[in-house]
Amino acid sequence: MHTLLLLIIPVVFMVVVLFLKGKTAGYAALTSSILSLVVSIIVAIHLHFNGYFDEFNRTWISSFGINFHVGIDGISLILVLLTTFLTPFIIVTSLQKENENSSVFYALILLMQAGMLGAFTAMDSFLFYVSYEVALIPIYFICGLWGGENRIAVTLKFFIYTLAGSLFMLVSIIYLYLQTPGNHTFEISEFYKLNLSSTQQTWVFWGFFLAFAVKIPIFPFHSWQPSTYTTAPTAGTMLLAGIMLKMGLYGLIRFVLPIAPDAVAHWNTLTEILCVCGIIYGSVIAMRQNDLKTLIAFSSLAHVGLIAAGIFSMNVQGIQGAMIQMFNHGVNAVALFFLIDLLERRSGTRLMDKFGGIASVNKKIAVVFAIVMLGSVGLPLTNGFVGEFLLLMGVYQWNIYAALFAGLTIILGAVYMLRLYRNVFFGEVSDAGRSITPLSMMETIMSYKLVVLIIVLGIFPNLLLNLSAPAVTKLLNLIANHSNMTATL
């Protein structure tokens, strides 16, 4: 029932917010997101200590065997927590700025939250597909209405790209549905029981892969991403980079690995190469960027490439690493975009060469940025380290050379992030650097929260790892059984 509550809260508040005006709308949205956070923490406590699997199941469209079936297991939980943790941050960031039509803006954020939570908790593949798409519409309007220059072309490209991928997923889902015995069903757990031949698995695999590869994005399906991240308003970028792309990674774990394990085993040489290409490509391009937002967008491409590589390595380290890194990347990305937004609002620019010497003007922001940056680079004792370490270990077990190249992410990551930090915070104080006024009360609190989160998760990664461990083990057992079954056939 808690899961249902998680989905209902944002939808109800969305309607309420539409009738409010200005800041009040923002505070109502904030209330909603904090309520969701509380509920998700309750679910986490239940699941972790009582092993209680929270679910809700009602018939939705009976003639098609579609159920409104939502539930939260360990894998969903990490992403639900990510969503509920980050949404308040995103709303607070937006509260700092005056947006025209703010009630619509906050309503769209809440609708998007509902869509993403729906995708992360769906136990029915039809519901998953619908939620996956529903999350796309609000972000389209957020980017289109409040985005920067050239937003119309950029957002349309983003929309068509993502929808094109996911429509192939729809074909895969329908195909699987028709393979289920008796009165067909869209239940994901029924999909797990199917015995698909390797040809069938291959087609299903590519259908899903297209959808998720666009969303994540995996090289070479990424071309929508940098421009969209750069053009979108900060809240939109945070939603996209922090949470939305995790829908793709989550989909890989939830659908692709257990349903088509043989196809993954057969094709993962190719997919791993694509992921590693993405890692290097993203990092190298990030090294040459001047616009801070674009830089982070390309670095994000590298980071998620590593996560996807870990998932495709199909072992416990890879997947556990992916789980924790999904959360950490979300936190780090949102933190970075938050700080960049903070700089942009003060100085009116996000170009690296305009900044300089902020460290001597505003020490607090320099320290916070340093910690966030180190988390993003993956320094030990920050949150980024554990995830990257596990991911690289997973990839290493699959293939040592892949791990060798994937490991470049740490070195290259340090190169572009330290370059960024040097240019923005050290050197001579520029005009833009001088304009960085002290942090407001709200901003200080937010920054400290993010810093605490980064350090705590770096020192105690088990907080997250334990939550997902049972579910991941179960998933891997399922895959192992599945492979044996097809092997004996």
Binding site: W60, I61, S62, S63, F64, Y129, V130, E133, V134, I137, F141, G144, L145, R151, I152, L156, F159, I160, L163, A164, L167, F168, L170, V171, I174, Y175, Y177, L178, W203
Partner: protein, 458 residues
């Protein structure tokens, strides 16, 4: 046969409207007549009652499709009266033609005899030829009527020829007799029968505007008054598909191997021609005309589906498409009359000029492009599922490719309405009744998208 009788009486009463000078109330009269017919219609639900010596049967299929046509026609009459009522001196006659064409539509979806199919098609088409030329002093409208008439008459010839050939092969006009014959003998080397099927196929593909028989559509849709175009694109198309699917599922299903290849190819080229040509249109009316061609391509998928899914699938799709398309054409009519252009720039800054209208534009365009939580998505989902069940996975993949091609042009008015600012201060007026009806159409789109179970399986 109360439905057809009620409609015919309504039509005739309308005709007398000008003579006995009650033309003011003819819109009301038409709506009442349609409502009465709708009530009679729904009384046949689950009865499968035959009429006229088994030449028609009011089974659930007929009742459902008939209801859709009548509801859409009623919506249309309300708008027609609002938009044209004051200036149109032939209001009663126009209304009676609309009502007569609905009677034709009813015959088209309930026939069990090929002669009735022909009659229905003719009643509908002849009304349409007249409606297309309503703006007598407008060159485009005249062109539309002329083109529609010549091409339509030509295609009806094919239909009739096909019927004759099938009669020659099977010695019957009756669908069940033909079905029995086909089932017993198959079609192997029965070239008379095969030619007949092919001829009928050509005739009907013309009526539903499938490529390569679609060339009349853009000109007719653009030339005819917009509100009438809405009628062609919704009621005309739905009734034609009702007739099409009924014939091929009832009669020719046993020899589907003979014609499914044709349908498949036609479906593919229809989708691609419709969507790709729509991309390049400046006039939104013409764009919607091409998009309606593309929709015919999707709807052809139903003919390739197993029987138990196809009928419900095509019904749901028709409803979804009918509602959204009707709303879209009406919006274009409103924009066109108030800004003087039917190009996308008429929509620029619509969110400032009229919030309701911008919202309805967004909903109907999202539904036409098949975005989830709108009826259009579930319609597509229904057809895709049934076509994959029929074994046409690759065809569905092509349909999917078309789905995202179509987003590009469906989003044009949405982008204009929401993401661009207008430089003029003109306000787009929307009367209350219009607003209520349009909002109702949008609500129906969303409700059917969330709870598609509301439409019963037939």
């Amino acid at each position: 046969m109360n439905v057809v009788i009620a409609l015919t009486i309504t039509g005739i009463l309308n005709l007398f409207g000008s003579i006995f000078s009650y033309r003011k109330i003819t819109p009301l009269l038409s709506i009442l007549g349609l409502a009465t017919a709708l009530v009679f219609n729904s009384m046949y639900w689950n009865t499968s009652q035959p009429f006229f010596n088994h030449m028609m049967v009011m089974d659930n299929y007929a009742v459902a499709f008939g209801a859709v046509c009548m509801v859409l026609a009623a919506v249309l009459i309300i708008f027609y009266n609002r938009f044209m009522g004051d200036e149109d001196h032939h209001l009663p006659e126009v209304l009676s033609i609309i009502v007569f064409s609905v009677a034709g539509a009813i015959v088209m979806v309930s026939y069990t005899n090929l002669l009735m199919l022909f009659l229905g098609v003719e009643i509908l088409s002849i009304s349409f030829y007249i409606l297309a030329g309503l703006k007598r002093k407008d060159l485009g409208s005249n062109e539309a009527a002329m083109k529609y008439f010549l091409m339509g008459a030509f295609s009806t010839g094919f239909l009739l020829f096909g019927i004759a050939l099938i009669y020659g092969a099977t010695a019957s006009f009756d669908l069940s007799a033909i079905a029995a014959f086909v089932k017993l003998n198959g079609a192997t080397s029965n070239y008379l029968l095969l030619c007949g099927v092919l001829m009928i196929l050509v005739g009907l593909l013309f009526k539903v505007a499938a490529a390569p028989f679609h060339f009349w559509t853009p000109d007719v849709y653009q030339g005819a008054p917009t509100i009438i175009t809405a009628f062609f694109a919704t009621v005309g198309k739905i009734a034609s598909f009702g007739a099409f699917y009924r014939l091929f599922s009832l009669c020719f299903a046993p020899i589907s191997t003979e014609w499914s290849g044709v349908i498949m190819v036609v479906s593919i080229i229809t989708m691609f021609i419709g969507n790709i040509t729509a991309l390049q249109q400046k006039s939104l009316k013409r764009m919607l005309a091409y998009s309606s061609i593309a929709h015919a391509g999707y709807m052809l998928l139903a003919l390739l589906s197993p029987a138990y899914m196809g009928a419900s699938g095509i019904l749901f799709y028709s409803i979804a498409y009918g509602i959204s398309s009707m709303a879209a054409f009406i919006i274009i009519h409103i924009i066109q009359t108030q800004t003087g252009t039917d190009e996308a720039m008429g929509f620029t800054g619509l969110k400032q000029k009229n919030k309701t209208l911008a919202f309805i534009t967004a909903i109907s365009m999202l539904s036409l492009s098949g975005i989830p939580l709108t009826a259009g998505f579930f319609g597509k989902f229904y057809l895709f599922t049934s076509a994959i069940e029929g074994g046409y996975v690759l065809l569905v993949c092509l349909a999917v490719v078309n789905s995202f091609i179509s987003i590009y042009y469906y989003f044009k008015p949405v982008i204009e309405s929401y993401f661009k600012n207008s430089h003029t201060d003109t306000v787009i007026q929307l009367k209350n009744t219009e607003a209520i009806l349009l909002v109702l159409l949008s609500i129906a789109t969303i409700v059917l998208g969330i709870l598609p179970g509301l439409i019963p399986s037939i």
